[in-house]
C-alpha cells in the first residue's frame, strides 16, 4: 500500500516535530510513508472564513499531490475533516454554479483515502499498542472537528491507554471547544480567550504535566494561553507521544524532554 503523509501547513511551518513523529511512528510500524512535495494547505482557513472560491485551487492541488497514493494520513483532525466534510460541499457548489464536475471528481478521489492519524492506526493498521513509552501524566482534549465531524470516538484514548509509563487524567468538560476556531480567535478575541481560559483552568486542574490533542492548531491556542500565564503544563501532539520510546528517553529524546527545541511558545 502506498501511504502519503499530509503534514498540513501549520505542522510544516510551525510544528515540524509532529510531522517527524508521524514518520517515525509509521516507519516503526512497518509502513513505508512518503511525503509528496506538491502538497500545501487543505484550504480550511480560507473556506471557513468565507473565501470558498479561493479554496478551489487547493482542492485541485490536494487531489494532484496525492493521486498516486492509496492512503493519505494526516496528524490533524480538522484538516482531515476539511477534506472529508467540505471538499464534497465545495464541489457540489461549483457544480451548482455551472462550473462542471472536475472538483466533484477530485473530491471523490480525496475523501475515501484521507485518514486522520488515529483512524489510520486503529482502522487500517488495526493497532492500538504502537510500542510507545512516555513516562508522563497527561490529559487529553478531544478537538471539535475530530470529535464531531470525524467521529474519532475513543480511538485516541485506546491508543493512549496502551502507552507504557503514561498516566491519563480525565479532563472535566473535555468536549467543550477550546475557543480557537481559526479566525474566530482574532475576530472574537474576547469570547475566544474566555473559552480558552476555562479550558486552561480545566487542564491545569487535572495536575497533568502536558495536554494532548490530535490538532496542533488548537494546541497553539491552548499552549499559547498556558505559556502566557507562565504555566508549566506543556502542549503535546498525540503523534509525538505515540512516537516516543524507551530509547528516546535514554537518549534524552522526545519522551524525556520537558519541552521541544521548536514548537514551543514564548
Amino acid at each position: 500500500m502506498r501511504v502519503a503523509l499530509f503534514v498540513t501547513c501549520i505542522n510544516d511551518t510551525l510544528q515540524p516535530r509532529t510531522g517527524r513523529a508521524v514518520v517515525t511512528l509509521l516507519e516503526r510500524l512497518g509502513v513505508d510513508v512518503d511525503f509528496p512535495a506538491e502538497q500545501s494547505c487543505c484550504g480550511q482557513p480560507q473556506f471557513n472564513t468565507g473565501y470558498r472560491h479561493a479554496t478551489e485551487p487547493l482542492v485541485r492541488r490536494f487531489d494532484r499531490a496525492f493521486k498516486d497514493y492509496d492512503y493519505v494520513v494526516t496528524p490533524s483532525g480538522s484538516c482531515a475533516a476539511m477534506v472529508r466534510d467540505n471538499y464534497p460541499r465545495i464541489a457540489a457548489r461549483a457544480a451548482a454554479e455551472g462550473r462542471g464536475r472536475e472538483l466533484t471528481e477530485a473530491a471523490a478521489r480525496a475523501v475515501p483515502k484521507t485518514y486522520e492519524l488515529t483512524e489510520f492506526l486503529v482502522d487500517v493498521l488495526k493497532v492500538t499498542d504502537v510500542g510507545a513509552y512516555y513516562p508522563h501524566t497527561i490529559t487529553y482534549h478531544p478537538t471539535c472537528h475530530g470529535l464531531r465531524v470525524l467521529g474519532l470516538g475513543d480511538r485516541p484514548r485506546r491508543l493512549l491507554e496502551q502507552v507504557r509509563g503514561l498516566t491519563l487524567k480525565e479532563l472535566p468538560g473535555a468536549e467543550e471547544c477550546c475557543g480557537f476556531g481559526g479566525t474566530f480567535a482574532v475576530k472574537n478575541p474576547a469570547v475566544s480567550t474566555a473559552m480558552g481560559a476555562d479550558k486552561v483552568r480545566a487542564v491545569t486542574g487535572t495536575g497533568a504535566e502536558a495536554v494532548c490533542t490530535v490538532d496542533n492548531s488548537c494546541l497553539l491556542h491552548i499552549g499559547g494561553m498556558l505559556a502566557r500565564q507562565g504555566s508549566p503544563v506543556r502542549p503535546v501532539h498525540l503523534a509525538e507521544i505515540l512516537a516516543s520510546t524507551e530509547a528516546d528517553t535514554a537518549a534524552g529524546g522526545a519522551a524525556g524532554r520537558a519541552a521541544g527545541a521548536e514548537g514551543g511558545a514564548r
Binding site: 503534514v7 501547513c9 505542522n11 510544516d12 511551518t13 510551525l14 510544528q15 515540524p16 510531522g19 517527524r20 511525503f35 512535495a37 506538491e38 500545501s40 482557513p45 480560507q46 473556506f47 471557513n48 472564513t49 468565507g50 473565501y51 470558498r52 479561493a54 479554496t55 485551487p57 487547493l58 492541488r61 471539535c144 472537528h145 464531531r148 465531524v149 467543550e176 471547544c177 475557543g179 480557537f180 476556531g181 481559526g182 479566525t183 480567535a185 482574532v186 475576530k187 472574537n188 478575541p189 474576547a190 469570547v191 480567550t193 474566555a194 473559552m195 497553539l220 491556542h221 499552549g223 499559547g224 494561553m225 505559556a227 502566557r228 527545541a261 521548536e262 514551543g264 511558545a265 514564548r266
Partner: protein, 497 residues
C-alpha cells in the same frame, strides 16, 4: 417603556462587554450547564432519536419546498373551522392587522402567551403606541417586561437573571403593573412562581383578548398547537373571547400525523422533559368552549427571503427548542443580548442575518460569532447544519453575492472592513498553490526568527494579548524531509538556502 434591539453594536463588541460581567457569566454558566445534562438524558431515553431527527428534518423540508401549497391548504382548513386568516408581508403590516383587530373588540388590554414572532415584530411597542397595553404572562417574559429588559434566550428569556435579581424586580415593579409582590418575598423559585401566579391571576380572569404565537400549524386540519409549561398559555388560549395568533409561515406542517415526530422532538430538546406539562391544540373555534373569534396572522417578515437561499433555507426548519443555545460555548460567554435580536445563540447567528437581508454591521458580524465547534448541529432536533450555514453566510459577507430582500433579488458587494483580510486570504491561497514561493517565505521566517516580536502590533494584538506566539522552528518539515530523505525535486535545493 420597552427597550428594543434597534441599533445594537456588532457582535464582537457587545460580546466583549459580556465576558467581563462575572455575574452574567455565572448565571449563564449555571443555567446552561443545568439543562445540558438533562437534555442529554431525556434524548438518550429514545433509541430512535436519530430516526426521529431525520423525519423531523424531512417533514420540514417537504413543507418548505412546497410552502405555497401548504399555506393555501392551511388557510382553507382554518377558514372552514371558523377562523379568520390574515397575511402580513412584514412587521409593520402584522402590527397594523393586530392593532386593528384589538381595536375592533373595543378592549385596551390584552394578555399574551410567550411568542418569538411577536417579539420579532415589536408588537407590544406597536400596541402601546395605539394605547393598548399588552401583558406578558410567561414567567420569564414577565421578568423581562417588569425589568424593562430585553430577552436573551428563546426558551427562558430572563436566563441572564438569577433568583435574587428576579426577587428584586418583582418587589420593585409588580405594584406598578397590578397586584404587588407579597410582603417578605424571598428568592426561592417556588415563592417567585407563586408571586407571578397571584400577580397574573386577575389579568387572566378579566382578559377579553389573548395574543399568542404557535409552535405548529397543521395544514390538512387547520389545527394550531401551543406547547408550554406554566398554564399561562392555556389561560390566554381558552379564557378570552377573542384570540389572535401571530405565526411565522414556516411553522406549517402538512399532516396531523407529523405531530407525532415533533411532539417527541421538541419537549426533550427544549425543557429536557418527556413531555411538557401542557399542550393545547385547537382548530378554528368551538361552540361554547374557548374564544368565539379566532384570527390567524401569517407572518413573512424575511422568511421568504430566507427561503430563497437554497443553503440558508434549512434555518426555517427551526422549532425554537433552544438546545443549540444551551450547548453553545460562545452563547454561554457572550450572553443573548450580544446577538442583537430575539433570536440569540447559534440559530440566531444564521436566522437574524437572513431575516434582515444581511444588511448592517451587526448582521455581517453574526456569521462569525462561532468557533464552528459543531455542538449546535449535534443537538439540533431537526438537523440544521448551523456550521454549514454560518460558513455560507460568511461567504456572502466577504465575497458578496445574491441575496433576497423583501422579495427582491439584490447582489451584495463584499462587505467593507474585510479588505485587508481578503487580500491576505487570497495571497495565502495563492502562496499555498505555489509551494516554491511559500518555501521561500518559510525559510526567511526561520532565518529571522530571533528577531520575531513577542507581541504583535495592530490587528495581531487580538491574538498576542492573551496568547503567546509560536516560535518559528529553525527548519520546516519539508526542509527536514529533503535533507534527510533527499528525494524531493532538485530545483528546490537552490532556493533560499
Amino acid at each position: 417603556m420597552s427597550r428594543s434591539f434597534l441599533g445594537m453594536p456588532a457582535f464582537p463588541r457587545a460580546a466583549a462587554v459580556s465576558t467581563r460581567d462575572p455575574r452574567l457569566r455565572a448565571n449563564l454558566a449555571h443555567a446552561t450547564h443545568t439543562i445540558r445534562d438533562k437534555r442529554a438524558r431525556a434524548v438518550a431515553e429514545l433509541d430512535d432519536w436519530a430516526q426521529l431527527r431525520a423525519a423531523g428534518a424531512a417533514v420540514k423540508d417537504r413543507t418548505l419546498r412546497h410552502l405555497d401549497h401548504y399555506l393555501e391548504q392551511l388557510e382553507e382548513s382554518v377558514a372552514a373551522a371558523g377562523g379568520h386568516v390574515h397575511w402580513a408581508a412584514d412587521a409593520d403590516e402584522a402590527n397594523r392587522i393586530v392593532t386593528r383587530l384589538v381595536r375592533e373588540t373595543g378592549e385596551r388590554e390584552v394578555v399574551k402567551v410567550k411568542s418569538m414572532a411577536t417579539q420579532e415584530i415589536g408588537l407590544n411597542e406597536a400596541l402601546a403606541e395605539a394605547g393598548i397595553r399588552a401583558y406578558e404572562t410567561d414567567l420569564a417574559e414577565l421578568i423581562v417586561q417588569l425589568g424593562d429588559d430585553l430577552p436573551s434566550h428563546i426558551l427562558v428569556p430572563a436566563i441572564h437573571r438569577n433568583r435574587g435579581e428576579i426577587r428584586d424586580i418583582f418587589r420593585r415593579e409588580m405594584g406598578k403593573w397590578g397586584r404587588p409582590a407579597p410582603e417578605g418575598l424571598s428568592d426561592s423559585p417556588t415563592e417567585l412562581a407563586e408571586a407571578a401566579r397571584l400577580h397574573l391571576r386577575e389579568k387572566f380572569l378579566t382578559a377579553k383578548v389573548g395574543i399568542s404565537g404557535a409552535n405548529f400549524m397543521v395544514a390538512e386540519t387547520g389545527t394550531l398547537v401551543v406547547v408550554e409549561s406554566e398554564g399561562n398559555g392555556r389561560m390566554c388560549l381558552t379564557l378570552p373571547e377573542t384570540l389572535i395568533s401571530v405565526v411565522g409561515i414556516e411553522k406549517t406542517v402538512p399532516t396531523w400525523q407529523d405531530l407525532e415526530v415533533f411532539l417527541q422532538l421538541l419537549p426533550r430538546s427544549s425543557t429536557a422533559e418527556r413531555m411538557n406539562p401542557y399542550t393545547t391544540t385547537w382548530t378554528g373555534t368551538t361552540d361554547g368552549d374557548g374564544p368565539r373569534a379566532f384570527h390567524l396572522v401569517l407572518l413573512d417578515n424575511g422568511r421568504t427571503d430566507t427561503l430563497a437561499d437554497a443553503v440558508g433555507r434549512q434555518a426555517l426548519r427551526c422549532i425554537r427548542c433552544s438546545a443549540c443555545l444551551n450547548v453553545c460555548p460562545v452563547y454561554e460567554r457572550a450572553g443573548g443580548h450580544a446577538y442583537g435580536s430575539p433570536y440569540p445563540g447559534p440559530i440566531g447567528a444564521i436566522l437574524t442575518p437572513q431575516l434582515r437581508g444581511m444588511a448592517g454591521p451587526l448582521e455581517e458580524s453574526l456569521p462569525y460569532a462561532s468557533s464552528l465547534c459543531g455542538a449546535c448541529y449535534e443537538v439540533c432536533p431537526v438537523a440544521i447544519d448551523i456550521p454549514e450555514v454560518l460558513v455560507h453566510l460568511r461567504e456572502r459577507v466577504v465575497e458578496g453575492g445574491p441575496v433576497t430582500r423583501r422579495g427582491a433579488r439584490v447582489v451584495l458587494k463584499p462587505a467593507k472592513g474585510h479588505a485587508a483580510e481578503r487580500a491576505a486570504m487570497r495571497a495565502a491561497a495563492w502562496a499555498f498553490d505555489h509551494p516554491g514561493v511559500l518555501r521561500g517565505g518559510m525559510r526567511l521566517a526561520a532565518r529571522t526568527r530571533r528577531l520575531h516580536p513577542r507581541r504583535l502590533p495592530g490587528p495581531g494584538r487580538a491574538w498576542s494579548d492573551t496568547r503567546a506566539l509560536p516560535t518559528v522552528p529553525a527548519e520546516s518539515f519539508r526542509d527536514w524531509w529533503r535533507r534527510t530523505r533527499g528525494d524531493a525535486g532538485g530545483s528546490e535545493r537552490g532556493g533560499v538556502k
